[in-house]
Structures are given as structure tokens and as C-alpha cells.
């Protein structure tokens, strides 16, 4: 059977090639997050080593698969040691596939330990997908923009789907659990009473602004899948930048950062352009280069004829 052209085209959407340099960068970010996770982002997970097994409430997956025993002191500590030890070679590209699998398995057990005591957190879906897909990708060097791979493209596409699902289905969960009236409810008021900061508590005096922000959130969550279908790169990066700004705002307002989600989301960005060696080598000459660039920019309008519209210079990033 010959595949239809449309089917071929849609299959191509899953396999848009990605440069290998991005894999090295994402491995580093994922490993770095694991170190941040246990001592800053979710330091309470290791606290479960002291919680008696009677308060352990096994999840569906632990009840079905007999490979997740009731956490004990040594199981919690042991999982953490294996996780941290394996994440270092993964970060620095030593046998990254082998250590990637160890990290993925250990982190999954770490999540079982975290989520089995009466509360499941929901910001790590994309990150878990990332951990399980990184080991399927080849060994890679930072800054490699020459070698392109469809395998990697598929993997990051799935991570991106996970990231977008987190937004899109969060809107649906609001409708399911909160009903359509969620957008006009006092959920943000409640959130700020519980965990407001100096940047947000003043909002309690303006409930209409909080309600407006709820409308905005649902609108952006429902529209988020657009990012998967935008061909223009700049527009795409713009949307991703908006996502990051959204998380910054939420963090300032209620101190919830969704850091692992933001790490997974980084695979939207052209991280293959980053080459740490080059950055370090060029660092001493950087001020001079910026000065030369600015000078060159200033010189441009002088060369154009008067009366001709001068395009606004892009801000130096």
C-alpha cells in the first residue's frame, strides 16, 4: 500500500529533524534539575524516609506492578543516592544512554516515593517524558549543529506534546473539577490567602483582577497547542517565551514555579547554538565585541540616504 501524501506529511510532523547539540544541552539541564530538585525544589521527598509505612497509600501503578515496595528509610536514601550518582555522568556525557536509563528508573521510583502519601503533584509530566526519552537519543556534543536526527526530533516532539498537554488538559481539569464557573470563582483569592507574596497580596483588594487572570489562564491554556503547529520559528520562540513569563508571574504571585516543566519546555529552544567551550573562550573579548557591534549599528543609519525609512535595530541580546 502506498501511503497517501497527506499521511506522509502528517507523519513528518512527528519527525522534524533536530540538531544533536540540543540533546547534550537537555541532558545537562535534566541532570542539573535533579540536583536542584532534591535540596531546593522538593526537599520534602527525602523527608518521607521518616514517615511510617501506615501512611503510605500505594498508587495504581504500584498496586499493579509488584516492583514498588513500601518506602522505608533505606529505600528512600538508596534511591536518592543512585539517582544523584547516575545523574552526574549523564550531565557530562559519559555513557549518557546507560546512565540515562538508570536516572529515568531511579527518578520514577523517587516520584512514587513522593506521590504516594495522599498528594499527587502535577507539574512533572513533561519532565518524566524527557527523562525516559533522553536515553533513546544518541551521544551528543554541545554546540553540534551539523548532525541532524529524526530520532531526536521524534523524542523532543513527544516531550513538547507532554508540555502542551500539561497546559491544555489543565484547562479541561478545571472544567471537570471546578465546572465552567471556575473562571469566575475565588480560586486565585484562595491561592493567594494560602501562599501569597508581597507581590500578590494587594490583589486581594481587587477580586475582579483575580477573576480576569483566571479567564486569561484558561484562554492561554486552551490556545497552547498552537505552539506545536507554528512554522515560523520566531513566532514559536515568542510563544515559548510567553510560557516562561507566565511561570515567572505565577512564581512571584504564589511561589509555585513548575521548574521541572520549564526544564522540559527548554527543548523547544535552539539550545544547539550554545557551545560552553566557545562561550568561555570568547568571554574575555565579550565587552569589546559588544562595543564594536554597537558602533557598527550606529554607523548604519549614516550610510542610508536621508528620507529613507530606517529599520529599527534589533535589540542586542
Amino acid at each position: 500500500m502506498t501511503p497517501l501524501p497527506l499521511a506522509q506529511k502528517s507523519a513528518g510532523w512527528f519527525f522534524q529533524p533536530v540538531a544533536l547539540g540540543r540533546v547534550a544541552a537537555m541532558r545537562f539541564l535534566a541532570g542539573a534539575f535533579i540536583w536542584v530538585d532534591w535540596w531546593w525544589y522538593m526537599p520534602w521527598i527525602v523527608g518521607h524516609r521518616h514517615v511510617p509505612g501506615e501512611l503510605y497509600q500505594p498508587l495504581f501503578i504500584a498496586r499493579v506492578l509488584p516492583v514498588f515496595p513500601t518506602p522505608s528509610y533505606w529505600l528512600v536514601v538508596g534511591t536518592l543516592v543512585v539517582l544523584l550518582a547516575a545523574s552526574i555522568p549523564m550531565m557530562f556525557n559519559k555513557a549518557p544512554r546507560l546512565f540515562g536509563w538508570i536516572v529515568a528508573a531511579a527518578y520514577f521510583e523517587w516520584m512514587i516515593i513522593a506521590m504516594s502519601y495522599g498528594k499527587v503533584d502535577h507539574g512533572k509530566f513533561g519532565f518524566l517524558i524527557l527523562l525516559f526519552l533522553l536515553p533513546t537519543m544518541p551521544k551528543a556534543r554541545w554546540g553540534d549543529r551539523r548532525n541532524l536526527s529524526e530520532h531526536v526530533g521524534w523524542g523532543f516532539n513527544l516531550v513538547q506534546i507532554g508540555v502542551v498537554c500539561t497546559y491544555f488538559f489543565a484547562a479541561w481539569a478545571k472544567v471537570r473539577y471546578g465546572g465552567w464557573e471556575w473562571v469566575n470563582s475565588a480560586t486565585m483569592t484562595w491561592a493567594i490567602i494560602r501562599r501569597g507574596t508581597e507581590y500578590s497580596t494587594w490583589l486581594l483588594d481587587y477580586p475582579w483582577m483575580l477573576r480576569l487572570s483566571q479567564w486569561g489562564m484558561v484562554a492561554f491554556e486552551l490556545l497552547s497547542p498552537v505552539v506545536m503547529f507554528v512554522a515560523a520559528k520566531r513566532f514559536r520562540y515568542g510563544i515559548v517565551a510567553f510560557f516562561y513569563l507566565f511561570h515567572l508571574t505565577v512564581f512571584l504571585a504564589v511561589e509555585i514555579s513548575f521548574l521541572p516543566h520549564m526544564v522540559a519546555m527548554a527543548c523547544f529552544l535552539p539550545l544547539e547554538r550554545i557551545n560552553p567551550r566557545e562561550l568561555i573562550r570568547n568571554a574575555p573579548g565579550l565587552p569589546g565585541r559588544i562595543r564594536r557591534k554597537l558602533k557598527a549599528r550606529k554607523a548604519v543609519p549614516a550610510q542610508t540616504r536621508s528620507g529613507e525609512a530606517v529599520p529599527e535595530a534589533e535589540p542586542a541580546s
Binding site: F14, F15, F60, M111, K119, H122, E150, W172, A191, I193
Partner: protein, 153 residues
């Protein structure tokens, strides 16, 4: 160095697209019908409940009294058991307050040098809201309490 372009062969393509579709199907299914129990495929219900504009916004905490008669808040750091986890299992604790014994044990495992706990209480502080504004009206309710047998505090 030569540029390489690695393509996925047709069989690999079929397998990979299937994996993507299975992940999507699972996350869609749990979003519509499943619950937290199906983690990692759980509905993304961060702050998804509707809070009434007129009503009570509650904030739960756990307090303990130790053998020396001191009353203090049992924080996450002191027990390793989180407020949200306590709230998640709250119906269990209300039904069977003796389970609070294990919260006391968690505290003692975490702080072996501190005096033992005699009493544990779950307390909810409720803020009255009207049209989304805080009215300033606050009440506190002890939802579950447990005192160790033989303790005289």
C-alpha cells in the same frame, strides 16, 4: 566534518508514532475519567477547584503537645509529612483519629532527641469570604484529635 542526517526507517516510524499516540491516549483518558491514582498519567488539576465567592476558605495545620506540655505546630520539616498530604488523607484521619499516632511517630523519627508527643490535632482555620473579599471573620475548628493512651496531658 561531514553533516549527517539520521532518518528513522518505516518500521521505527510506525513504532514511534504509536508510542506518541499511546501516551496521548493515556493522558487524555485520565484527564477525562481517571484520577490522581493513575500517576504519572494524572489529571492536571493544579488549583482546579472552584472556590465560592461567598463562603469559607480553609487552611489546615497540625498541632502537637509534647510530654513537657508545650504546644507547637507540626510543620513539614518536623515530620516529613506535608500539609497537602495530610489534607489528602484528612477523611481517613477524621474517621480514625488513631492514625495520627503515625504522624507522631514521623515526628519522633525525624527528631529523636526531642521530647515525645502526647497529643496531635488537625485544626482548620476558616476565613469568611463575601463576593471574593475577605471579611475578616475567622473561625478555627479541631477536625481530629488523638491523645496517646496513658498520657495525662
Amino acid at each position: 566534518m561531514d553533516t549527517q542526517y539520521a532518518t528513522v526507517r518505516p518500521l521505527g516510524r510506525a513504532v514511534r508514532v504509536s508510542i506518541t499516540l499511546v501516551v496521548l491516549a493515556l493522558v487524555t483518558a485520565t484527564t477525562f475519567w481517571g484520577g490522581d491514582d493513575f500517576f504519572p498519567f494524572a489529571p492536571f488539576k493544579m488549583y482546579s477547584s472552584s472556590m465560592e465567592l461567598d463562603g469559607w476558605a480553609g487552611s489546615t495545620r497540625v498541632e502537637a503537645v509534647n510530654a513537657e506540655g508545650e504546644r507547637f505546630k507540626l510543620t513539614e520539616d518536623a515530620t516529613g509529612f506535608r500539609r497537602a498530604e495530610l489534607e489528602g488523607q484528612k477523611s481517613r484521619f477524621i474517621e480514625n483519629p488513631e492514625l495520627l499516632e503515625f504522624v507522631a511517630q514521623a515526628y519522633e523519627n525525624t527528631n529523636p532527641d526531642k521530647p515525645e508527643i502526647v497529643t496531635v490535632e488537625i485544626i482548620e482555620r476558616r476565613y469568611r469570604l463575601e463576593d471574593g473579599h475577605q471579611t475578616g471573620e475567622v473561625t478555627e475548628v479541631v477536625e481530629a484529635a488523638y491523645t496517646r493512651e496513658g498520657a495525662d496531658a
